[in-house]
Amino acid sequence: MNAVLRVLAPGLLTTVQDLGRPGYQSLGIPVGGALDPVSLRAANALVGNEPQVGALEVAYMGPTLLVEDGEARLSFVGADASIEILSDEMATRGRRIASMRSVRVRRGEVVRVGSLTRGAVLYIAVEGGFAIAPVLGSVSTYLRGAIGGWEGRALTAGDCLPLQRNEPSEREDCEIIGLDLAPLARYRAIVGPQSDHFSAAAIEKFFDSEYVVSTGADRMGMRLKGPVLQHARGFNIISDGIAPGSVQVPGNEQPIVLLADRQTVGGYPKIATVISADLPAISRLPIGAKVRFAPVCIEEAEAARRRFVADIEALPGKIVPIRQSIGELTPRLFDCNLIGGVIDASAGAPELAELQ
């Protein structure tokens, strides 16, 4: 019998996502997939999965999950969050662990993920993945079309997600060191395709201004608030195709960055397109985050893409086993000034919490 994750509390918007379902856009079916594929890949790497395996995408507020019928290895990558492993459903306090690591959880244990900070999304991968049938080659949940994932919808309390495995492998629990998920000073974008629907002044304003993320938990698009971008020839165009990262400007003259669940075609002019190397970073920004753009040419975008892909390929090399023995842990605790001195809560040392 496979292990199961029973959803005790779903969080704000928890969905199954993988790397998406390209190939069906001409039928009106979006690519979808993880908002932040870098974090998804890292979460998968931590539990030894292939990069494209589906995981839980958590937005803003995490779920509470009960491990049933077996044992599992989970990993957590993305925004900061309080992650607690409780011994059973009745327990009120458990051991805290940090994100950016994997952990083995036993039958009957409960994983409780709190509110996310410093980011909008967190991925919870399970070793071996979920036993969910793909739709058009992907387990990504497409909410508007109600396909993929768990019954085509976000998780709700009572859902029981079967895992592929009954128990984890013998591999060690690991952490990922040096994965940089920090916001960028500027998100690079290529002008167009509808640059001729905006004055030169509006395009300049777009790149010179600071915008603020004004809505969240929307997998289709990120609404930004800031200086208005006036259209040169009205805000209706005959629909044309939409690229990942398209920045469309509807009638209210405020830009919207189109994300994973973007519609395949659209009828608003698009002033610019965020480059593929920077799209995961902008996609993971939470409400209230500040955004500035920088114009780049296609050659610069292609070079950035090469570095981005090289970084992704280097992810497995950043994964190291978590040292379990006291002997090995102690020097690190001294490094963190956590024993033999004042405890600095802000320094954070997940290993210490686990020893308690």
């Binding site: 001409s26 009106g28 079309g145 690229a243 659209g266």
Partner: protein
């Protein structure tokens, strides 16, 4: 060779634009280029998406640079002609009963036509599928006869319309494939599943198809809906002919 321009859409897509209006000739070029590019199996091209007046080409820039893709498109454009292809013709039931066609009366009034005349005009038109988009399986069909072409989208969209609702706006008509917010004027409802989830995910129409609507009574509509719900409503093209799409 038609006139076109290639527009940048980031580093993973290019837009080949043939014009900026709704025109079957532009659509025929879009569909011809899509067919040609898909048939060429260019390494690095991920997918092509035809729209009313342009083709967006999604690609992997590490396999194919923007410059190489532009050259490839220019090469394919040189010999491009609106190719003859298999064109599927569909005759799709639609119910124009005012009970489920909330805007039929008001559109008639605004056009100075009886509701019956609006229906006559709608069912007499052979529509061309310009593109699919907005929702899975949602087809944009044109062109409406001049008498029905004068009505832009509603200023305030409805929060939710039922799947199968047939809308009109400007020169186009559409069928909403799922329950959705919608801004077009609703003049009929079709029992046909344009987007099915079971037993597997399928869409009915594809760009370049031809569609006519066949009127059914409210009672027939309900019977067809019951068959659609039980999965026993099988909709096939009435005809497949060789011809120029659009």
């Amino acid at each position: 060779m038609p006139q076109f321009r290639v527009l940048p859409a980031g580093d993973t897509a290019l837009v080949v634009e043939f014009g900026d209006h709704i025109d079957r000739r532009l659509s025929s070029w879009v569909l011809a280029l899509a067919r040609r590019l898909d048939g060429a199996h260019v390494a690095g091209v991920v997918e092509t998406v035809p729209t009313i007046r342009s083709l967006i080409v999604h690609y992997d820039p590490l396999v194919l640079s923007a410059d190489s893709l532009k050259e490839c498109i220019a090469e394919l454009m040189r010999g491009l002609h609106a190719a003859r292809d298999v064109v599927r013709h569909w005759q799709l039931p639609a119910c124009y009963d005012p009970e489920i066609a909330p805007d039929l009366g008001s559109i008639g009034e605004r056009a100075g036509l009886s509701p019956a005349r609006v229906v006559e005009l709608h069912i007499a038109t052979v529509f061309h599928v310009y593109m699919l988009g907005f929702l899975p399986g949602m087809a944009y069909l044109g062109d409406l006869p001049a008498e029905l072409s004068a009505f832009p989208r509603m200023a305030t969209p409805r929060m939710k319309v039922p799947a199968g609702s047939v809308g009109i706006a400007n020169t186009l008509t559409c069928v909403y494939p799922v329950d959705t917010p919608a801004g077009w004027h609703l003049i009929a409802r079709s029992p046909v599943p344009f987007f099915s989830r079971r037993p597997e995910v399928t869409t009915l129409l594809r760009p370049g198809d031809k569609v006519t609507f066949a009127p059914v009574s409210l009672r027939e509509y309900e019977q067809l809906m019951a068959r659609a719900a039980s999965g026993s409503l099988s909709i096939e093209p009435v005809e497949e002919t060789m011809g120029v799409a659009a």
